[in-house]
Protein backbone atom coordinates (compact mmCIF):
# COMPACT_ATOMS: atom_id res chain seq x y z
CA UNK A 1 0.00 0.00 0.00
CA UNK A 2 1.44 3.32 -1.02
CA UNK A 3 0.92 6.35 1.24
CA UNK A 4 -1.47 7.86 -1.32
CA UNK A 5 -3.67 4.79 -1.18
CA UNK A 6 -4.26 5.03 2.55
CA UNK A 7 -7.88 5.84 3.22
CA UNK A 8 -8.36 9.03 5.18
CA UNK A 9 -10.21 7.39 8.02
CA UNK A 10 -7.44 4.88 8.78
CA UNK A 11 -5.79 5.43 12.18
CA UNK A 12 -2.19 6.57 11.79
CA UNK A 13 -0.59 4.19 14.27
CA UNK A 14 -1.20 0.99 12.30
CA UNK A 15 2.00 -0.05 10.53
CA UNK A 16 1.71 -0.45 6.78
CA UNK A 17 2.90 -4.01 6.71
CA UNK A 18 0.63 -5.29 9.45
CA UNK A 19 -0.36 -8.82 8.53
CA UNK A 20 -4.02 -9.65 8.47
CA UNK A 21 -3.52 -12.26 11.15
CA UNK A 22 -1.21 -10.78 13.75
CA UNK A 23 -0.08 -14.13 15.17
CA UNK A 24 1.49 -14.95 11.85
CA UNK A 25 -0.25 -18.26 11.43
CA UNK A 26 -3.69 -19.14 10.18
CA UNK A 27 -4.50 -21.81 12.70
CA UNK A 28 -6.81 -19.66 14.80
CA UNK A 29 -10.04 -21.32 15.63
CA UNK A 30 -13.14 -20.24 17.47
CA UNK A 31 -13.51 -21.69 20.93
CA UNK A 32 -17.10 -22.59 21.71
CA UNK A 33 -17.96 -21.61 25.28
CA UNK A 34 -20.54 -24.39 25.88
CA UNK A 35 -17.82 -26.98 25.15
CA UNK A 36 -15.53 -25.67 27.90
CA UNK A 37 -15.14 -27.18 31.33
CA UNK A 38 -14.61 -24.29 33.76
CA UNK A 39 -13.65 -26.69 36.56
CA UNK A 40 -10.76 -28.19 34.57
CA UNK A 41 -8.16 -25.65 35.67
CA UNK A 42 -9.00 -26.27 39.32
CA UNK A 43 -8.81 -30.00 38.77
CA UNK A 44 -5.29 -29.46 37.39
CA UNK A 45 -4.13 -26.88 39.95
CA UNK A 46 -5.11 -29.09 42.88
CA UNK A 47 -2.12 -31.27 42.07
CA UNK A 48 1.34 -30.87 43.60
CA UNK A 49 3.48 -28.44 41.65
CA UNK A 50 0.62 -27.30 39.39
CA UNK A 51 -0.83 -24.42 41.44
CA UNK A 52 1.34 -21.89 39.60
CA UNK A 53 -0.93 -22.08 36.55
CA UNK A 54 -2.96 -19.37 38.30
CA UNK A 55 -0.07 -16.94 37.81
CA UNK A 56 0.58 -17.64 34.11
CA UNK A 57 0.08 -14.41 32.14
CA UNK A 58 0.89 -16.06 28.82
CA UNK A 59 4.16 -14.19 28.19
CA UNK A 60 5.48 -17.17 26.23
CA UNK A 61 8.95 -17.44 27.82
CA UNK A 62 8.22 -21.19 28.06
CA UNK A 63 7.42 -21.53 24.37
CA UNK A 64 10.37 -19.35 23.37
CA UNK A 65 12.81 -21.61 25.21
CA UNK A 66 11.16 -24.91 24.26
CA UNK A 67 13.41 -27.05 22.01
CA UNK A 68 10.49 -29.19 20.85
CA UNK A 69 8.43 -26.13 19.88
CA UNK A 70 11.31 -24.93 17.77
CA UNK A 71 11.11 -28.11 15.69
CA UNK A 72 7.39 -28.72 15.88
CA UNK A 73 5.23 -25.63 16.39
CA UNK A 74 2.27 -27.84 17.27
CA UNK A 75 3.79 -28.37 20.70
CA UNK A 76 3.29 -25.04 22.44
CA UNK A 77 3.54 -24.75 26.25
CA UNK A 78 1.96 -21.27 26.37
CA UNK A 79 -0.97 -22.41 24.25
CA UNK A 80 -1.44 -25.55 26.34
CA UNK A 81 -1.45 -23.49 29.56
CA UNK A 82 -4.08 -21.19 28.05
CA UNK A 83 -6.17 -24.14 26.87
CA UNK A 84 -6.19 -25.49 30.42
CA UNK A 85 -7.13 -22.08 31.84
CA UNK A 86 -10.00 -21.88 29.34
CA UNK A 87 -11.20 -25.37 30.23
CA UNK A 88 -10.52 -27.16 26.93
CA UNK A 89 -10.27 -30.46 28.74
CA UNK A 90 -11.05 -32.94 25.98
CA UNK A 91 -8.84 -31.21 23.40
CA UNK A 92 -5.88 -31.12 25.80
CA UNK A 93 -6.13 -34.64 27.18
CA UNK A 94 -6.73 -36.32 23.83
CA UNK A 95 -3.92 -34.42 22.10
CA UNK A 96 -0.97 -36.64 21.11
CA UNK A 97 1.20 -33.51 21.35
CA UNK A 98 1.24 -33.44 25.17
CA UNK A 99 3.54 -36.48 25.01
CA UNK A 100 6.12 -34.70 22.80
CA UNK A 101 7.82 -32.89 25.72
CA UNK A 102 11.49 -33.87 26.04
CA UNK A 103 11.52 -32.96 29.75
CA UNK A 104 14.37 -30.47 29.38
CA UNK A 105 12.64 -28.18 31.90
CA UNK A 106 13.62 -24.97 30.15
CA UNK A 107 10.00 -23.79 30.57
CA UNK A 108 10.15 -23.71 34.35
CA UNK A 109 13.75 -22.48 34.28
CA UNK A 110 12.81 -19.35 32.35
CA UNK A 111 9.30 -18.61 33.64
CA UNK A 112 9.13 -15.12 35.21
CA UNK A 113 6.09 -16.20 37.22
CA UNK A 114 7.69 -19.39 38.59
CA UNK A 115 5.04 -21.52 36.92
CA UNK A 116 6.28 -25.08 36.79
CA UNK A 117 4.93 -26.00 33.38
CA UNK A 118 6.85 -29.28 33.38
CA UNK A 119 4.83 -30.35 36.43
CA UNK A 120 1.57 -29.04 34.96
CA UNK A 121 2.16 -31.01 31.78
CA UNK A 122 2.91 -34.04 33.91
CA UNK A 123 -0.46 -33.68 35.63
CA UNK A 124 -2.10 -33.47 32.19
CA UNK A 125 -0.29 -36.60 31.02
CA UNK A 126 -1.35 -38.47 34.15
CA UNK A 127 -4.97 -37.42 33.53
CA UNK A 128 -4.72 -38.42 29.87
CA UNK A 129 -3.26 -41.81 30.84
CA UNK A 130 -6.18 -42.32 33.25
CA UNK A 131 -8.49 -41.87 30.28
CA UNK A 132 -6.61 -44.44 28.23
CA UNK A 133 -4.35 -42.17 26.17
CA UNK A 134 -1.02 -43.61 27.39
CA UNK A 135 1.28 -43.81 24.35
CA UNK A 136 2.18 -47.29 23.20
CA UNK A 137 5.94 -46.76 23.72
CA UNK A 138 5.38 -45.97 27.39
CA UNK A 139 3.07 -48.95 27.84
CA UNK A 140 5.74 -51.23 26.40
CA UNK A 141 8.34 -49.79 28.77
CA UNK A 142 6.08 -50.46 31.74
CA UNK A 143 5.58 -54.07 30.60
CA UNK A 144 9.36 -54.58 30.43
CA UNK A 145 9.67 -52.99 33.85
CA UNK A 146 7.22 -55.46 35.35
CA UNK A 147 9.25 -58.34 33.96
CA UNK A 148 12.83 -57.24 34.57
CA UNK A 149 12.86 -54.06 36.62
CA UNK A 150 14.28 -52.11 33.69
CA UNK A 151 12.53 -50.45 30.77
CA UNK A 152 14.18 -52.39 27.94
CA UNK A 153 13.86 -55.87 26.56
CA UNK A 154 16.76 -58.09 27.53
CA UNK A 155 18.02 -61.22 25.85
CA UNK A 156 20.80 -63.77 25.92
CA UNK A 157 22.91 -62.02 23.29
CA UNK A 158 22.99 -58.98 25.51
CA UNK A 159 24.12 -60.96 28.55
CA UNK A 160 26.84 -62.64 26.48
CA UNK A 161 28.01 -59.26 25.26
CA UNK A 162 28.34 -57.91 28.79
CA UNK A 163 30.25 -60.99 29.82
CA UNK A 164 32.65 -60.65 26.89
CA UNK A 165 33.41 -57.11 28.01
CA UNK A 166 34.03 -58.29 31.60
CA UNK A 167 31.05 -56.29 32.85
CA UNK A 168 29.34 -57.84 35.89
CA UNK A 169 26.10 -59.76 35.26
CA UNK A 170 22.90 -57.94 36.22
CA UNK A 171 20.52 -59.83 38.46
CA UNK A 172 17.33 -58.78 36.74
CA UNK A 173 14.24 -59.33 38.78
CA UNK A 174 11.08 -57.37 38.25
CA UNK A 175 9.25 -58.79 41.23
CA UNK A 176 9.51 -55.85 43.62
CA UNK A 177 8.92 -53.38 40.81
CA UNK A 178 5.86 -55.34 39.70
CA UNK A 179 4.44 -55.28 43.22
CA UNK A 180 4.91 -51.51 43.49
CA UNK A 181 3.40 -50.96 40.06
CA UNK A 182 0.38 -53.02 41.04
CA UNK A 183 0.05 -51.18 44.34
CA UNK A 184 -0.08 -47.82 42.57
CA UNK A 185 -2.50 -49.07 39.90
CA UNK A 186 -0.23 -48.51 36.89
CA UNK A 187 -0.76 -52.10 35.73
CA UNK A 188 -4.48 -51.41 35.24
CA UNK A 189 -3.87 -48.01 33.71
CA UNK A 190 -1.74 -49.36 30.85
CA UNK A 191 -4.44 -51.74 29.64
CA UNK A 192 -7.11 -49.02 29.42
CA UNK A 193 -8.52 -48.42 25.97
CA UNK A 194 -8.79 -45.03 24.32
CA UNK A 195 -12.28 -43.53 24.38
Amino acid sequence: MKPDDIPEDMPEDIPEDMPENISGDDSEETVQVPNLDPAFKYEVMRNEGAGGLKYCFACGACTASCPIHEIDHGFDPRKLARMVQLGMKDEVLSSPLIWYCSACRNCEQHCPQSVEFFNILNVLKNMAAEKGYAPYAWVVQTRHLMRTGMVFRTDEAWETRRKALSLPPLQLDGEKVRELIELSGLDELIVKKRP
Binding site: Y100, A103, T142, V151, V177, L180
Partner: protein
Protein backbone atom coordinates in the same frame (compact mmCIF):
# COMPACT_ATOMS: atom_id res chain seq x y z
CA UNK B 1 38.20 -43.60 50.50
CA UNK B 2 34.93 -42.50 48.97
CA UNK B 3 32.37 -45.24 48.43
CA UNK B 4 29.20 -45.07 46.41
CA UNK B 5 26.45 -47.43 45.38
CA UNK B 6 26.71 -47.55 41.56
CA UNK B 7 23.31 -46.85 40.03
CA UNK B 8 23.56 -48.06 36.44
CA UNK B 9 19.99 -47.28 35.39
CA UNK B 10 18.48 -48.89 32.28
CA UNK B 11 20.11 -47.29 29.23
CA UNK B 12 23.80 -47.55 30.15
CA UNK B 13 24.01 -51.28 30.97
CA UNK B 14 21.74 -52.14 28.03
CA UNK B 15 23.11 -49.98 25.23
CA UNK B 16 26.17 -47.93 26.26
CA UNK B 17 28.69 -50.48 27.55
CA UNK B 18 31.59 -48.12 26.93
CA UNK B 19 30.17 -45.60 29.42
CA UNK B 20 29.95 -48.26 32.11
CA UNK B 21 33.40 -49.64 31.32
CA UNK B 22 35.16 -46.29 31.27
CA UNK B 23 33.31 -44.99 34.35
CA UNK B 24 34.27 -48.02 36.39
CA UNK B 25 37.87 -47.72 35.22
CA UNK B 26 38.44 -43.99 35.84
CA UNK B 27 36.73 -44.01 39.24
CA UNK B 28 38.95 -46.90 40.32
CA UNK B 29 42.05 -44.99 39.23
CA UNK B 30 40.95 -41.97 41.22
CA UNK B 31 40.16 -43.88 44.41
CA UNK B 32 36.35 -43.96 44.33
CA UNK B 33 35.02 -47.35 45.33
CA UNK B 34 31.84 -48.49 43.61
CA UNK B 35 29.51 -51.06 45.13
CA UNK B 36 27.24 -52.97 42.73
CA UNK B 37 23.78 -53.59 44.12
CA UNK B 38 21.57 -56.26 42.60
CA UNK B 39 18.34 -54.85 44.04
CA UNK B 40 18.44 -51.59 42.10
CA UNK B 41 15.81 -51.15 39.36
CA UNK B 42 14.61 -48.38 37.03
CA UNK B 43 14.67 -44.88 38.60
CA UNK B 44 11.07 -44.19 37.58
CA UNK B 45 11.92 -41.22 35.33
CA UNK B 46 9.51 -42.13 32.54
CA UNK B 47 6.84 -43.75 34.70
CA UNK B 48 6.16 -40.30 36.16
CA UNK B 49 4.48 -39.50 32.83
CA UNK B 50 1.83 -42.17 33.32
CA UNK B 51 1.47 -42.05 37.07
CA UNK B 52 3.41 -39.67 39.27
CA UNK B 53 3.00 -41.90 42.29
CA UNK B 54 4.52 -44.94 40.56
CA UNK B 55 7.52 -42.86 39.53
CA UNK B 56 8.06 -41.65 43.07
CA UNK B 57 7.64 -45.18 44.47
CA UNK B 58 10.25 -46.62 42.10
CA UNK B 59 12.72 -43.85 42.98
CA UNK B 60 12.01 -44.31 46.70
CA UNK B 61 12.57 -48.05 46.38
CA UNK B 62 16.07 -47.45 44.99
CA UNK B 63 16.85 -44.85 47.66
CA UNK B 64 15.74 -47.29 50.36
CA UNK B 65 17.92 -50.06 48.91
CA UNK B 66 21.01 -47.82 49.05
CA UNK B 67 20.12 -46.49 52.49
CA UNK B 68 19.85 -50.02 53.89
CA UNK B 69 23.51 -50.46 52.93
CA UNK B 70 24.56 -47.06 54.25
CA UNK B 71 25.68 -45.85 50.82
CA UNK B 72 25.08 -42.69 48.84
CA UNK B 73 24.25 -43.12 45.16
CA UNK B 74 26.42 -42.36 42.12
CA UNK B 75 24.58 -42.37 38.79
CA UNK B 76 25.91 -42.41 35.23
CA UNK B 77 22.69 -41.14 33.64
CA UNK B 78 21.72 -37.50 34.18
CA UNK B 79 18.01 -38.39 34.16
CA UNK B 80 18.48 -41.05 36.85
CA UNK B 81 20.35 -38.44 38.91
CA UNK B 82 17.48 -36.00 38.42
CA UNK B 83 14.67 -38.45 39.18
CA UNK B 84 16.36 -39.92 42.26
CA UNK B 85 17.51 -36.55 43.65
CA UNK B 86 14.05 -35.06 43.15
CA UNK B 87 12.43 -37.96 45.00
CA UNK B 88 15.03 -37.72 47.79
CA UNK B 89 14.33 -34.00 48.16
CA UNK B 90 10.55 -34.44 48.26
CA UNK B 91 10.68 -37.31 50.72
CA UNK B 92 13.07 -35.49 53.03
CA UNK B 93 10.99 -32.30 53.09
CA UNK B 94 7.63 -33.97 53.60
CA UNK B 95 7.41 -36.60 56.37
CA UNK B 96 3.76 -37.23 55.53
CA UNK B 97 4.62 -38.08 51.94
CA UNK B 98 7.44 -40.31 53.19
CA UNK B 99 5.01 -42.11 55.46
CA UNK B 100 2.66 -42.73 52.54
CA UNK B 101 5.48 -44.06 50.37
CA UNK B 102 6.79 -46.24 53.18
CA UNK B 103 3.38 -47.80 53.74
CA UNK B 104 3.72 -49.16 50.21
CA UNK B 105 7.45 -49.96 50.36
CA UNK B 106 6.62 -52.09 53.38
CA UNK B 107 5.10 -54.72 51.10
CA UNK B 108 8.53 -55.25 49.52
CA UNK B 109 10.23 -55.13 52.93
CA UNK B 110 11.81 -51.71 52.47
CA UNK B 111 11.72 -48.40 54.28
CA UNK B 112 13.21 -45.03 53.34
CA UNK B 113 14.20 -42.73 56.20
CA UNK B 114 15.31 -39.82 54.04
CA UNK B 115 19.09 -39.77 54.31
CA UNK B 116 20.47 -40.49 50.87
CA UNK B 117 22.48 -38.18 48.68
CA UNK B 118 22.43 -38.70 44.91
CA UNK B 119 25.26 -37.51 42.69
CA UNK B 120 25.97 -37.78 38.99
CA UNK B 121 29.45 -39.15 38.17
CA UNK B 122 30.71 -35.80 36.86
CA UNK B 123 29.65 -34.09 40.05
CA UNK B 124 31.56 -36.71 42.04
CA UNK B 125 34.61 -36.09 39.88
CA UNK B 126 34.25 -32.33 40.26
CA UNK B 127 33.44 -32.20 43.98
CA UNK B 128 34.95 -35.30 45.56
CA UNK B 129 38.13 -35.52 43.46
CA UNK B 130 38.43 -31.97 42.15
CA UNK B 131 39.89 -30.46 39.01
CA UNK B 132 43.39 -30.03 40.50
CA UNK B 133 43.74 -33.68 41.52
CA UNK B 134 42.55 -34.77 38.09
CA UNK B 135 45.16 -32.52 36.48
CA UNK B 136 47.85 -34.09 38.65
CA UNK B 137 46.75 -37.60 37.64
CA UNK B 138 46.95 -36.92 33.89
CA UNK B 139 49.55 -39.07 32.14
CA UNK B 140 48.77 -38.61 28.45
CA UNK B 141 48.80 -35.14 26.98
CA UNK B 142 45.53 -34.32 25.23
CA UNK B 143 46.38 -30.66 24.71
CA UNK B 144 45.06 -29.20 21.52
CA UNK B 145 42.16 -31.65 21.32
CA UNK B 146 39.11 -29.48 20.72
CA UNK B 147 36.08 -30.87 22.55
CA UNK B 148 32.52 -29.50 22.46
CA UNK B 149 30.78 -30.18 25.79
CA UNK B 150 27.14 -31.23 26.02
CA UNK B 151 25.87 -31.22 29.62
CA UNK B 152 22.52 -33.00 29.46
CA UNK B 153 19.40 -31.28 30.84
CA UNK B 154 18.94 -33.11 34.13
CA UNK B 155 22.52 -32.51 35.21
CA UNK B 156 21.50 -28.84 35.53
CA UNK B 157 17.72 -28.52 35.81
CA UNK B 158 15.59 -27.97 37.84
CA UNK B 159 17.79 -25.20 39.17
CA UNK B 160 18.11 -26.53 42.72
CA UNK B 161 19.74 -29.74 41.40
CA UNK B 162 22.85 -27.83 40.39
CA UNK B 163 22.59 -25.10 43.04
CA UNK B 164 25.98 -24.26 44.53
CA UNK B 165 27.68 -26.40 41.93
CA UNK B 166 26.83 -25.23 38.44
CA UNK B 167 24.52 -22.81 36.64
CA UNK B 168 21.82 -24.06 34.24
CA UNK B 169 22.04 -21.21 31.72
CA UNK B 170 25.82 -20.86 31.79
CA UNK B 171 27.22 -24.20 32.93
CA UNK B 172 30.98 -24.60 33.41
CA UNK B 173 31.78 -27.78 35.35
CA UNK B 174 32.10 -30.01 32.28
CA UNK B 175 34.20 -27.30 30.62
CA UNK B 176 36.53 -27.44 33.63
CA UNK B 177 36.59 -31.24 33.69
CA UNK B 178 37.53 -31.23 30.00
CA UNK B 179 40.25 -28.63 30.61
CA UNK B 180 41.64 -30.80 33.42
CA UNK B 181 42.49 -33.50 30.86
CA UNK B 182 44.44 -30.99 28.76
CA UNK B 183 41.79 -30.86 26.03
CA UNK B 184 40.21 -27.53 25.06
CA UNK B 185 36.49 -27.05 25.76
CA UNK B 186 34.84 -25.30 22.82
CA UNK B 187 31.65 -23.33 23.48
CA UNK B 188 28.98 -23.10 20.81
CA UNK B 189 25.59 -21.43 20.39
CA UNK B 190 23.39 -24.51 20.85
CA UNK B 191 25.44 -25.98 23.70
CA UNK B 192 22.43 -26.01 26.07
CA UNK B 193 20.08 -27.58 23.53
CA UNK B 194 18.31 -30.73 24.72
CA UNK B 195 19.12 -34.04 22.95
CA UNK B 196 15.41 -34.85 22.68
CA UNK B 197 16.01 -38.44 23.80
CA UNK B 198 12.77 -38.68 25.74
CA UNK B 199 10.78 -37.65 22.68
CA UNK B 200 12.49 -40.23 20.44
CA UNK B 201 10.03 -43.12 21.06
CA UNK B 202 7.09 -40.70 20.59
CA UNK B 203 8.24 -38.80 17.50
CA UNK B 204 11.44 -39.93 15.88
CA UNK B 205 11.40 -37.09 13.35
CA UNK B 206 11.16 -34.42 16.01
CA UNK B 207 14.15 -35.77 17.92
CA UNK B 208 16.31 -36.35 14.87
CA UNK B 209 15.63 -32.80 13.65
CA UNK B 210 16.64 -31.52 17.06
CA UNK B 211 19.85 -33.54 17.09
CA UNK B 212 20.57 -32.36 13.57
CA UNK B 213 20.31 -28.73 14.73
CA UNK B 214 23.17 -29.18 17.15
CA UNK B 215 25.26 -31.22 14.72
CA UNK B 216 24.84 -28.49 12.10
CA UNK B 217 25.90 -25.88 14.61
CA UNK B 218 28.99 -27.94 15.49
CA UNK B 219 29.86 -28.13 11.80
CA UNK B 220 30.64 -24.41 11.94
CA UNK B 221 33.17 -24.94 14.75
CA UNK B 222 36.49 -26.61 14.37
CA UNK B 223 36.10 -29.44 16.83
CA UNK B 224 37.68 -32.89 17.17
CA UNK B 225 34.86 -34.38 19.20
CA UNK B 226 31.79 -33.84 21.29
CA UNK B 227 32.00 -34.79 24.97
CA UNK B 228 28.93 -35.70 26.97
CA UNK B 229 27.89 -37.35 30.21
CA UNK B 230 24.59 -39.14 29.76
CA UNK B 231 23.78 -42.45 28.01
CA UNK B 232 20.64 -41.10 26.33
CA UNK B 233 22.46 -38.03 25.00
CA UNK B 234 25.15 -40.41 23.73
CA UNK B 235 22.60 -42.56 21.87
CA UNK B 236 21.09 -39.49 20.21
CA UNK B 237 24.33 -37.76 19.14
CA UNK B 238 26.61 -40.77 18.92
CA UNK B 239 24.38 -43.42 17.37
CA UNK B 240 21.89 -41.44 15.30
CA UNK B 241 24.25 -39.64 12.91
CA UNK B 242 23.90 -42.24 10.16
CA UNK B 243 20.10 -42.09 10.34
CA UNK B 244 20.23 -38.29 10.31
CA UNK B 245 22.57 -38.25 7.32
CA UNK B 246 20.19 -40.51 5.43
CA UNK B 247 17.02 -38.72 6.43
CA UNK B 248 18.21 -35.14 5.99
CA UNK B 249 20.94 -35.57 3.39
CA UNK B 250 23.69 -34.50 5.79
CA UNK B 251 27.28 -35.68 6.03
CA UNK B 252 27.88 -35.64 9.77
CA UNK B 253 30.72 -37.64 11.21
CA UNK B 254 31.33 -36.07 14.60
CA UNK B 255 33.17 -38.33 17.05
CA UNK B 256 31.29 -38.45 20.35
CA UNK B 257 32.96 -39.39 23.64
CA UNK B 258 31.50 -39.97 27.06
CA UNK B 259 33.48 -37.84 29.53
CA UNK B 260 34.99 -40.83 31.39
CA UNK B 261 36.36 -42.04 28.04
CA UNK B 262 38.15 -38.72 27.52
CA UNK B 263 39.40 -38.70 31.10
CA UNK B 264 40.43 -42.34 30.75
CA UNK B 265 42.55 -41.49 27.71
CA UNK B 266 44.29 -38.78 29.72
CA UNK B 267 44.86 -41.18 32.61
CA UNK B 268 46.54 -43.65 30.27
CA UNK B 269 43.79 -46.27 30.07
CA UNK B 270 43.70 -48.94 27.39
CA UNK B 271 41.43 -47.52 24.69
CA UNK B 272 39.65 -50.83 24.11
CA UNK B 273 39.66 -52.93 27.27
CA UNK B 274 39.45 -50.08 29.80
CA UNK B 275 37.50 -47.45 27.90
CA UNK B 276 35.56 -49.28 25.17
CA UNK B 277 36.47 -46.72 22.50
CA UNK B 278 35.96 -49.33 19.77
CA UNK B 279 32.27 -49.49 20.72
CA UNK B 280 31.56 -45.88 19.77
CA UNK B 281 29.49 -45.61 16.60
CA UNK B 282 31.58 -42.89 14.99
CA UNK B 283 35.19 -44.10 14.70
CA UNK B 284 37.70 -42.30 16.91
CA UNK B 285 40.73 -43.05 14.72
CA UNK B 286 41.44 -39.36 14.14
CA UNK B 287 41.56 -38.63 17.84
CA UNK B 288 43.68 -41.70 18.57
CA UNK B 289 46.16 -40.77 15.85
CA UNK B 290 46.42 -37.28 17.28
CA UNK B 291 47.09 -38.58 20.77
CA UNK B 292 49.69 -41.07 19.49
CA UNK B 293 51.39 -38.24 17.61
CA UNK B 294 51.49 -35.88 20.59
CA UNK B 295 52.91 -38.76 22.65
CA UNK B 296 55.84 -39.08 20.27
CA UNK B 297 56.52 -35.34 20.15
Amino acid sequence: MNRYALFLGCTTPRYVFQYELSSRWVLKQLGIELIDIDDFACCGFNQIDLNKETGLLLAAMNLAVAEARGLNILTLCTSCAGALAEAAKKLKADPKKREGVNSKLQTVALEYRGNIEVKHISRVLYEDIGVEKIEEAVKTDLSGLRAAPHYGCHYLKPEWISAGFDEPDAPQTLHQLISATGAVPISYETSNLCCGGKTFPISRDTTLSLVNRKLNNLKTKEIDCMVLQCPTCYLMYGEMQKQINKRFGEEHEVPVLLYPQLLGLALGGNPQTDLGLDLNAIPLDGIMARIAKSDQD
